[in-house]
């Protein structure tokens, strides 16, 4: 089941990303940008028809696992994730992408020290498990940045940091991007939140109205940079900006930025106590 979930995520885009791309493609007028969108949509058709990964960079696999306190198969689930990654690699759905940083050797099956990467969270009061997968491609991970700002710089300092990251590293990261921003006391908290922000449904807003406004204004400002799809100019550089935050330290304001390419491949599989399941990101899908 999990290897089929992985192959689904690398072959088909989630519903929210598809509809955001469809809207963004309609407002472009430059011939190059139109050509790019045509290629993107044709690519999605071919990937679905041939059941092949829509992008050759199937990234490193990041699993965000929520374990309900009543879910009794936690150990089996974690073991199944590892096996599923190896199987999906052998079946040609994942490119072997895990490289030992010391020897530069590719491990060949997407496992290795720390891989597949799994973040675990307990879910009180429920019996199911949530398996959320993010495909972290190299090109779209390249802009990733985090830094501790002085609180005096405030949200404006945050916005400046985000804009500089996108202006400098956005063009080759396969825009239109989704930009995830995390705020908190330390770099690793901010960075992790910036990645979780990418998992949020496109079109959703942070419940805090001031942060929701920051999301909206940041998206406008990023689109004002004029990078456009594939860095060829155009109206949409960011399909959306999502901000997630945690309380900061009195003396620190850490900001993290993670970017996703237009081919934002994520999936959300909910596994119930009887091992039935539901795919929440891809409507109408049965994992055969």
């Amino acid at each position: 089941m999990i290897s089929r979930f992985i192959s689904l995520v690398v072959v088909r885009l989630p519903d929210d990303v598809l509809s955001a791309l469809a809207s963004a493609s309609k407002i472009e007028s430059s011939p190059h940008v139109k050509l790019v969108y045509e290629a993107m949509f044709r690519n999605l058709e071919i990937a679905a028809k041939r059941n092949v990964p829509l992008c050759q960079d199937t990234g490193v696999l990041e699993f965000f696992v929520g374990l309900g306190e009543g879910f009794t198969y936690a150990g089996d689930l974690l073991k199944a994730i590892r096996e599923a990654v190896v199987r999906a690699t052998n079946d040609g759905f994942l490119r072997p992408n895990v490289v030992d940083p010391v020897t530069s050797r590719n491990t060949g099956d997407n496992t290795g020290l720390g891989h597949p990467w799994v973040e675990i969270e307990m879910l009180p009061g429920v019996n199911h498990a949530d398996l959320r997968l993010y495909i972290a491609g190299g090109g779209s991970s390249r802009p990733g940045s985090a830094r501790v700002l002085d609180p005096a710089l405030g949200l404006e300092g945050v916005a400046e940091f985000v804009l500089n990251v996108v202006a400098e590293y956005g063009p080759p990261a396969c825009p239109p991007l989704v930009v995830g921003v995390g705020l908190g006391p330390t770099v690793e908290i901010a960075a992790l939140l910036s990645k979780k922000a990418l998992l949020r449904t496109l079109g959703s807003r942070n419940p805090n109205p001031k942060i929701a406004l920051l999301e909206e204004r940041l998206a406008e400002a990023i689109n004002g940079l004029g990078i456009g799809p594939q860095g060829l100019g155009g109206r949409t550089t960011a399909l959306a900006v999502h901000v997630e935050y945690a309380g900061r330290h009195p003396a620190t304001l850490a900001v993290g930025v993670s970017t996703a390419c237009w081919a934002l491949r994520k999936g959300w599989l909910r596994v119930f106590p009887d091992l039935s399941y539901q795919v929440l990101t891809h409507g109408g899908v049965v994992l055969e």
């Binding site: 050509l35 041939r50 090109g139 396969c174 204004r217 990078i227």
Partner: protein, 199 residues
């Protein structure tokens, strides 16, 4: 304007290509990215493929062995800017004529394109299924010890594209302007779209 360019290609044909043109290529394309460039130029290992007149593709494909033969399941471009460290010397020493990638390249590559009559073209990133659709045959592989993504894959392709000419053989650079504009607009965007709303 859109045209099919057959490989190997002559300097005359390369000279006709201008920034903004849209082309498709047919013939032999060889994948080469970070590790292959490094092995050739830094470690000094001779390149096992004669690239004169051909195209390289900044890409790490997904390949599977099927009944003893390699099959390409997905191949699209990687970030070309990582090869900016090497590409000018690579063009000079190999005689490669078309560099396929994504995201644009810098002034050293543009200068080499001008001096040695080559072009850099952009294939839309993320379109690996579309790329693989144009691969007719995997002709071979070299340096497989670098791992599947970094090996040199020799692909026979038919009308691989669309490819947008981003650096032409006069050294014009299409994406430079976009990148410079983006950098220069950070301050004004901050002023007009952010500052007044966050007070």
């Amino acid at each position: 304007m859109s045209r099919v360019v057959n490989l190997p290609v002559t300097d005359d044909v390369v000279s006709e290509l201008k920034v903004g043109d849209v082309i498709y290529v047919s013939g032999v394309v060889v994948t080469a990215r970070d590790a292959a460039h490094r092995r050739f130029l830094v470690e000094g290992v001779p390149l096992p493929v004669d690239l004169r007149g051909l195209a390289i593709l900044h890409a790490g494909p997904i390949m599977v062995r099927f009944g003893g033969k390699w099959v390409c399941r997905s191949v699209g471009p990687t970030t070309s800017m990582r090869m900016e460290y090497y590409e000018s010397e690579f063009i000079e020493r190999t005689g490669v004529k078309i560099i396929i990638g994504k995201g644009g390249m810098g002034s050293r590559t543009a200068e080499a394109c001008r001096k040695f009559k080559a072009v850099y073209v952009i294939f839309p990133g993320g379109c690996g299924a579309l790329g693989a659709f144009a691969v007719e045959e995997v002709l071979g592989v070299e340096w497989l010890d670098l791992g599947i993504p970094e090996a040199l894959w020799l692909l026979r392709v038919k009308e691989f594209g669309p490819l947008i000419v981003a650096i032409d053989s006069q050294g014009n650079n299409l994406t430079d302007e976009v990148t410079n504009t983006a950098r220069s607009r950070v301050a004004t965007q901050l002023q007009s779209k952010i500052r007044q709303y966050l007070l």
